[in-house]
Amino acid sequence: MATRSKAAGARLLPSAEPVRFIEADGTPVARRGLPGGPELRAAYRALVLGRRFEQQATALVKQGQLAVYPSAHGQEAAEVGAVLALRSTDWIFPTYRDSVALLTRGVDPVEILTLLRGEWHCGYDPYTHHAAPQCTPLATQAPHAVGLAFAAQARGEETVALAFVGDGATSEGDFHEALNFAAVFHLPVVFFVQNNQYAISVPVRRQTAAPSLAHKAIGYGMPGVLVDGNDAAAVLSVVGAAARRAREGEGPTLVEAVTYRIDAHTNADDATRYRPDEEVTGWLARDPLARLTAYLTNSGQLNVDVEAAVAAEAEELAADLRTRLVAEVPPPPRELFAHVYHRPTQRLRDQAELLRAESTAPEGS
């Protein structure tokens, strides 16, 4: 524990209002710190692709092509901003909800959906993309990010690790332990909490009595930052600064991105059971894509040609995804035994043989 002064603590507290660069209607709050055109256009493109991907995934659920889809509709600026603020060698630790983050990282959409299509638990190669498998047990990915950051530092790399965490998941013990380890070992980690206001049906006011989730940072001796998660420019800037701090050896940061989950938790969920439609409407008016589009257009940084090109790219992505996804076949059953250990134990070889024998046995024998 460094110092015992109240001031020392207060410095780590988040600002009263979330950092925002662009208002919901596209008006810039201030020019200072606002990312430049190329950066914002990249974010724009990723937002468009991300949203199209989400729409396609939702359609695929309806067609029975996916087992389930947890949509990030409404959260795309947070997903995109967090990833684009990093270097491609930085690691991300996404949850089940962060498919758009993976898409932004450049993971093949078909490989992203392997999990939700029910073919295998992770379809992409984590090492190719510096992206851990999408994590389902809540908050458990946070200590992994800490460990990876530790290893990166030990190996003399400049790598930063960013852990995506939901508002609900901040209540889990692993969240606490991860933040504490990162701070004590002074590691290059960004904890990126997407406060989308709900953990399935539970609103964040039933999740915590704290002034904000970002206020938790001080309990670990790290800075907490509140950012408007529907403002891609603000997310880019805040996560960029946190990553810079991390890279420069100044330790971890907790970022709370205030956003909203427009869709239900997953297609299997019925959000009308726990929240009023007006609430959703209110947040639709703060749409992250419309906001960035308005700002870029108004400030002359986006023209119809670029818009059309990105739209076409998005359609192509969706079409390609549809075609390739339905052509996908699950791994052969014998693979069930192949990766449990570096080589199958005798017991697993026997079980594989049993399965093989069954499938080759004549019908009804």
Binding site: L115, H121, P137, G168, S201, V202, R206, F337, E358
Partner: protein, 326 residues
């Protein structure tokens, strides 16, 4: 007679317990307003109020730990783990406190509480949504472990669990939630700790519990075509185990196959196999065989059918019971 699903039966059991005993509380993740991700607690918060059925912050160790404190002080908490794999964060609370408090205090502090969890596979769930974790609990002295296989049992065993003076791990076979039976609730409460012969037979005994009972019954039905008359015993209560009913059946038939969905190694199926092999030694015409899940992490939806014990695999095991020796 009404047609009732297992989900309805469990909902009704919780409702009746809340109505009858004001010390009963139901809580967990999304069990209040939403009524649970499987809608098992549907309507309970509305009917019994937010103080009797409510949502907690998202933290399973906290949920179970809080229940321990409540049970110490006169309440009868019934908590839901959203899926059994999400009970793992609460493992320390369960093993080091829930299971041990009565013994630790020489019987002075008992913990009448129920930990409900939807368990098992077969619903096309993605990773972590299809685990079968009964072995972890069954191996832990101090826990009562119950796994109903029928709609009627789901009701009566849950009522018995809530009334039980000791902590109960109540494992609800999630793929049977929507299975229906002709049954009018409330049904007479079966005591915890009794197995039941679901189907009489003379040639061999199939021993199963939870979701595997249906598989065993279907296999027994199919076996008739092969000329085998199979008995099916539903274990129902893994701890305490009704050894006598199991042993009596196997001593009579001289052959047994244990069917369970969890990986087989060091499992409840291992225990059932070991004890039948020991206690029925002189009656056995063949080794006790096991049909279990493979010793692999639970597979993805498109592959899970390869993993789960099915009728074919049970029949293959029955066929391997050395009938030529008989």
């Amino acid at each position: 007679m009404a047609t009732t699903s297992m989900a309805q039966a469990i909902n009704q059991a919780l409702a009746d317990a809340l109505a009858e005993d004001e010390r009963v509380l139901v809580f967990g993740e999304d069990v209040g307003t939403l009524g649970g991700v499987f809608r098992i607690t549907d309507g309970l918060a509305a009917k019994y109020g937010e103080r009797r059925c409510f949502d907690t912050p998202l933290a399973e160790s906290g949920i179970v730990g809080m229940a321990v404190g409540m049970a110490m002080h006169g309440l009868r908490p019934v908590v839901e783990m959203q899926f059994d794999a999400f009970a793992y964060p609460a493992f320390e609370q369960i093993v080091s406190h829930v299971a041990k408090m009565r013994n630790r205090t020489r019987g002075r502090v008992s913990l009448p509480m129920v930990i409900r969890a939807p368990y098992g596979g077969g619903i096309g769930g993605v990773e972590h949504h299809s685990d079968s974790s009964e072995a972890y609990y069954a191996h832990t002295p101090g826990l009562t472990v119950v796994a109903p296989a029928t709609v009627a049992d789901a009701y009566s065993l849950l009522r018995a669990a809530v009334a039980w003076p000791d902590p109960v791990i109540f494992l609800e076979p999630k793929r049977l939630y929507w299975s229906k039976e002709e049954v009018t609730l409330p049904v007479h409460a079966e005591p915890i700790g009794r197995a039941v012969v679901r189907r009489g037979g003379t040639d061999a005994t199939l021993v199963a519990y939870g979701p595997s009972v249906r598989v065993a019954l279907a296999a027994a039905e199919a076996a008739r075509e092969e000329g085998w008359d199979l008995e099916v015993v539903d274990v129902r209560s893994i701890v305490p185990l009704d050894e006598e009913t199991l042993v009596a059946s196997v001593r009579r038939t001289g052959r047994a196959v244990v069917v369970a969905e969890a990986p087989g190694f060091a499992s409840v199926a291992s225990e059932l196999t070991a004890l039948l092999a020991e206690r029925c030694f002189h009656a056995l015409a063949a080794p006790v065989l096991r049909v279990t899940g493979f010793d692999i992490p639970y597979p993805s939806p498109k592959l899970e059918h390869h993993h789960l014990p099915d009728v074919e695999r049970v029949l293959d095991a029955v066929a391997a019971l050395q009938w030529e020796d008989a």
